[in-house]
Symmetry: C2
Subunit: 212 residues, 2 copies
DNA sequence: CCATTTTTGTTAATTAAATCACATTTATAG
DNA sequence: CTATAAATGTGATTTAATTAACAAAAATGG
């Protein structure tokens, strides 16, 4: 059997980071192999969903044996490009941005906030975790001299569209926002939202609507 | 036509908070009515999806007119229970938890972190934004004297299962975690994850796999 | 008041995701 | 080496979500 050539479903890709992280944890704990049923127990995904997901990335398992954890990590790590540093820029170093910068993806060696920007003159010039906060208009030049693969924005909603317009002008195409303000961008630019309020509201809602 | 009696799809419920927020913004800006097509433009959802979603909650629109914004806000607000304060507890007041507590859902008058807990004696006793940080084992009593509708956890992954076990013992059934550690809970307990690393990895991935 | 336009709500069609079910492969034990 | 057990990978099926298409309803403009 050869690897699929069908288009890989969006949801299978979305689950890759979870697979990757879980497999790394297992490897760290000395495990060498895993069966879809065991993995499913850990991350609460049906084994059959796991097997189908994996099948999109090649013939990764062995019948009667399971999957070699190191091999899965190798394959998934390649897709996630964990062997090259993915430089990120942080826009808005308020309370939330500061927390992200202090942590700076400690657990993910290949993700790194390499530069940070703010509009507040009181904040500009301050150094946190070896990153010196700059004025946002320095980003254009920075993005030419260093690889910035994406941006995390923790600016307030009211500033977000304006910031995004500037980022787009700088050639940034991947933006993750903590402000839920919907923005308009060219279709080659991707904006994802991490919407805390919606998450909390849904959490409370789905508990109310007592489970199936 | 009468309201549906079919089961409301998960995804329609998931979108409610976004509808609600957007409609409130429109109302704040003086708008009185909205058409599914306009709303779709703003939040990037197909008008037909919006109309179908709305239809689950009653006969809310008028042909040739659109939807009355105040009416939608009323209906959706009721479902989201925005008129009763939803008390939340915060567990883990490190850098991230602190940012959440300082903000404390400023923009959402009905969501409120009413108590905060940590394990670190240096942190316990400190007051942030009128909330005094307590030892986690105070939560059991607190949850009996004040309504805690849900918990936000910003404790490190390695502590999360232990914290969750305690929360479950206290009768908490809704938990939002910033640590991606998968935990086991009874099936009446809901855990949602806000997984920053996965979001970033997917953001970069989906940009690589150049858009459809 | 009537004709035209707009826009909803929903049935039908489509697309996407998850799951079932099982033939096939490999491991293992005797 | 063979028989048995275990687990994968994938067609077939089911379930869920989205989108298309359009009849019916309401508004608007003579
Ligand atoms: N903190 C939370 O609990 C929380 C929760 C949910 C969502 N959010 C979202 O994240 C945003 C940030 O939260 P926060 O608590 O860090 O707020 P904050 O006010 O502490 O920080 C915002 C930062 O953005 C900077 N900024 C403003 N306009 C800018 C611009 N045009 N360019 C560059 N920087 C600019 C400000 O100077 C400030 O440092 C919030 O507005 C909200 O939309 C925060
Ligand atoms: N900060 C980030 O950028 C970031 C990004 C992604 C995910 N996260 C997740 O959020 C978690 C918290 O992030 P942070 O930056 O605030 O870390 P942090 O270390 O600053 O804060 C963690 C807090 O949890 C407390 N704690 C530890 N064990 C506890 C227990 N058993 N009971 C109660 N409190 C306990 C600690 O005392 C500390 O105050 C991280 O471990 C990570 O899993 C953080």
């Amino acid at each position: 059997m050869t690897p699929h050539n069908k288009k890989i479903p969006r949801m299978s890709i979305e689950r890759l980071p979870i697979y990757y992280r879980t497999l790394c944890n297992l490897a760290d704990n000395g495990y060498l192999r895993i069966k879809s049923a065991q993995l499913g127990k850990i991350i609460q995904i049906e084994p059959t969903t796991i097997r189908r997901d994996f099948s999109y990335f090649g013939d990764l398992g062995k019948s009667g044996y399971g999957y070699d954890i190191a091999h899965l990590i190798q394959i998934f790590g390649e897709i996630l490009e964990v062997n090259e540093t993915q430089g990120l820029a942080l826009i808005g170093v308020g309370n939330l941005g500061r927390a992200l910068l202090i942590n700076n993806f400690r657990r993910n060696p290949n993700l790194e906030i390499v530069s940070a920007y703010d509009a507040d003159p009181h904040v500009i010039g301050e150094t946190i975790n070896e990153v010196t906060i700059q004025s946002l208009n320095e980003l254009k030049e920075d993005s030419q001299t260093q690889a910035i693969k994406g941006v995390i924005s923790t600016v307030p909603s009211h500033a977000f569209q304006e910031v995004v317009d500037y980022l787009v002008a700088c050639g940034i195409t991947s933006i993750l926002s903590f402000a839920p303000e919907p923005v308009h961008v060219p279709k080659n630019v991707h904006v994802r939202y991490l919407d805390l309020t919606s998450e909390v509201q849904n959490l409370l809602l789905l508990s109310d609507i007592a489970e199936v």
